[in-house]
Subunit: 395 residues, 2 copies
């Protein structure tokens, strides 16, 4: 199993013969075995037809949908009393959807946002734009420290007196900041729904779904192709009393539309859902489940962070060690050097010439970012580390 | 070219050896050559990676997006001054989006809906739910005649005095009713935007885009897989003055969000967009453009309607001849017979046993429905006609 996993993501550029390692922050790498199976079923999945040519109301796709949901529930050990919805629009549309569906009728209750990076900041902005300033409270923000993971101590967090919900983003893809099990779950009263954007770390390891009211994730990091968004919602949050009382919710932004129709109110994105199903099977059978996936992810990110921290300051990760992401490892190349900008450029160009692509940090922050989603192998991370050492020794 | 097209959609069920003809109303049939190319690029499109693994901000996908839009513009001869947007959520989400983006600030202006089937009825309902009863006017409705295409004469249409826009659905998939060039374009004042849902007949033939303010279409009939929605919008309709003044628009439901970001505000559904691009190439090169496509579509639907009308009442199409759809041919099996229900069931079962699948009408109306989207060949329609004649002679 482990050997198979270690070797199945070797990619050769047919044009150059170069081995390519794709560190894209998303859409991200997918397992080779998943792509091979999907390629075959493209033209022939059922009765000589490809998956994407089949009616969503036919038996073949209904079976795919049911199995995809069942595997997802099994992987995350989702308890009874939660619904799984397949939506569209990515995490960004969920920023609007969460606000409209969960602000509730009580005009005194506020939506509490924990801001630790670009995505939670955007979520809070969109909620404020839709609901009005008075309804949104930023509990804590790391904006002043450029979202470097210096999360203030809990006694400095300013929760609202009356909370509609508490929102956070578990892994901030742009800044490389991750809560994981360090999130202060005990600070959230049990009657307040905890809402989490897990777009970039879902399925990277086990979580306790029962701590959440709602979890959402765009597929294109750890699950499948762009075009499907998976939502896990505790059923009591589907109550009309949770919804915005001041404006109607567009039908396809209402979670109830999906929960009452098994995500089939209108045509769902059938092929992206099918691809997620293949990835779930890969996690179950080739990886062996989320405990194993988590161990692999820790091994990958630890190896890279150790290389950065052991470089005598040549490579610097600006993120507080307590909140460093396992998925997106951000670092700078010799930032104290007067030639830092040129060095970073050279690092990225030389890495690319060796086949290590998509290593540039998000355009809003710069630097280097290696995204190590589930399909990235430890072997490929070690190739990056070897290059980093060789580059440091040479320049 | 024509021979190639006639022969390239032969599908054999590998399990039974049976030739399968898929009349699904959507997601629909796709050209075999498109699926073959997509299957290959699944695992290797650029640098040894599949299309869906590539960053949407990388050069490879940006080139796909640009070429897809350019081919679409060329096929439909879209004039300057119109933007093409790639969205998500299907036509159903557009029912909400159109209302919120185009109702305008003038509280006296009404949104005029022309209702000729299930989809335009849903669009009007959603606009009314979002905007309030006072803002929506049903100009004309064929509901009383069960949406059978008995469209009243134009002098009975009740347009509003002050119109925010006029909405219609060009092809009603459930009822098999199509306007096409019979739509009374001259009845729409030039300063009133004409909005059209073309989900199930876009690219079935040439249209004059300049007559429209906005056209939208879910991809899964004539363009590609479910998961992408294409919008053509005249740029003046992007003005803030057109938008709903009484409630904020969720960011990803605002057309401006897409027009100012080349549909890349957040991650677009990259693979579904790529598939549309392959279908556009197929239309250009294998079919030869929309004039040729239109001729093929007329040949297919005419052959089937002629068979129905020439059956001495054994097969009956309930749709007014003037508004029969080229895409979705609905008919009943010997409806005057006391055994009509049993006969229809037998017809569908025997057709399926011969490999002609997905012929049952929409669950809300029953009957038989043969969807003849662009990828359906004349040869396959003739196989259905031959079966219909044989069935009639035998029972």
């Amino acid at each position: 199993m482990a050997n198979n996993y270690n070797n199945n993501n070797v990619r050769i550029d047919p044009a150059t013969g170069l081995r390519i390692i794709n560190f894209s922050a998303g859409p991200g790498l997918m397992p080779v075995s998943v792509l091979a199976e999907a390629g075959q079923s493209m033209a022939s999945f059922s009765q000589g037809h490809g998956l994407m040519e089949l009616s969503h109301r036919g038996k073949a796709f209904e079976a795919v949908l049911a199995e995809t949901e069942a595997d997802f529930r099994q992987l995350l050990a989702i308890p009874d009393g939660y619904s799984v919805l397949f939506m569209q629009g990515g995490a960004t549309l969920q920023f609007s959807t969460v606000a409209l569906n969960l602000v509730g009728a009580d005009a005194d209750a506020k939506c509490d946002y924990i801001v630790t990076g670009a995505w939670s900041a955007k979520a809070a902005e969109e909620a404020e734009r839709l609901l009005g300033k008075g309804r949104v409270n930023v509990v804590v923000s790391t904006k002043k420290s450029k979202h470097n993971g210096d999360v203030p101590a809990l006694d400095q967090w300013k929760f609202s007196q009356k909370q509609a919900y508490v929102f956070y983003c578990d892994n901030e893809t742009v800044h490389g900041v991750e809560f994981g099990n360090k999130f202060p779950f005990d600070a959230i009263p049990s009657n307040v729904p905890l809402i989490c954007d897990m777009s970039s770390n879902i399925l990277s390891g086990p979580i306790d779904v029962s701590k959440y009211g709602l979890i959402f994730a765009g597929a294109q990091k750890n699950m499948g192709p762009a075009g499907v968004t998976v939502v896990i919602i505790r059923d009591d949050l589907l109550s009309p009393s949770r919804k915005c009382a001041t404006q109607p919710i567009p039908q396809l932004l209402d979670y109830n539309t999906y929960s009452t129709s098994q995500s089939m109110y209108n045509t769902p994105p059938t092929f992206p859902i099918y691809m997620c199903g293949l990835v779930f099977k890969w996690l179950k059978t080739e990886i062996g489940g989320l405990d194993q996936m988590s161990a692999i992810n820790t091994a990958k990110s630890s190896a890279l962070y150790n290389a950065i921290d052991g470089s005598n300051g040549f490579y610097v990760c600006p993120v507080n060690k307590a909140y460093r992401s396992r998925m997106n490892v951000c670092f700078l190349v010799n930032p104290k050097s007067p030639d830092a900008a040129a060095l970073e450029k050279r690092f990225l160009a030389e890495a690319e010439a060796k086949g290590m692509v998509q290593l540039a940090g998000h355009r809003s922050v710069g630097g280097v970012r290696a995204s190590l989603y589930n399909a990235m192998t430890l072997e490929n991370v070690q190739i990056l580390i070897a290059f980093m050492k060789e580059f440091q020794a040479r320049v």
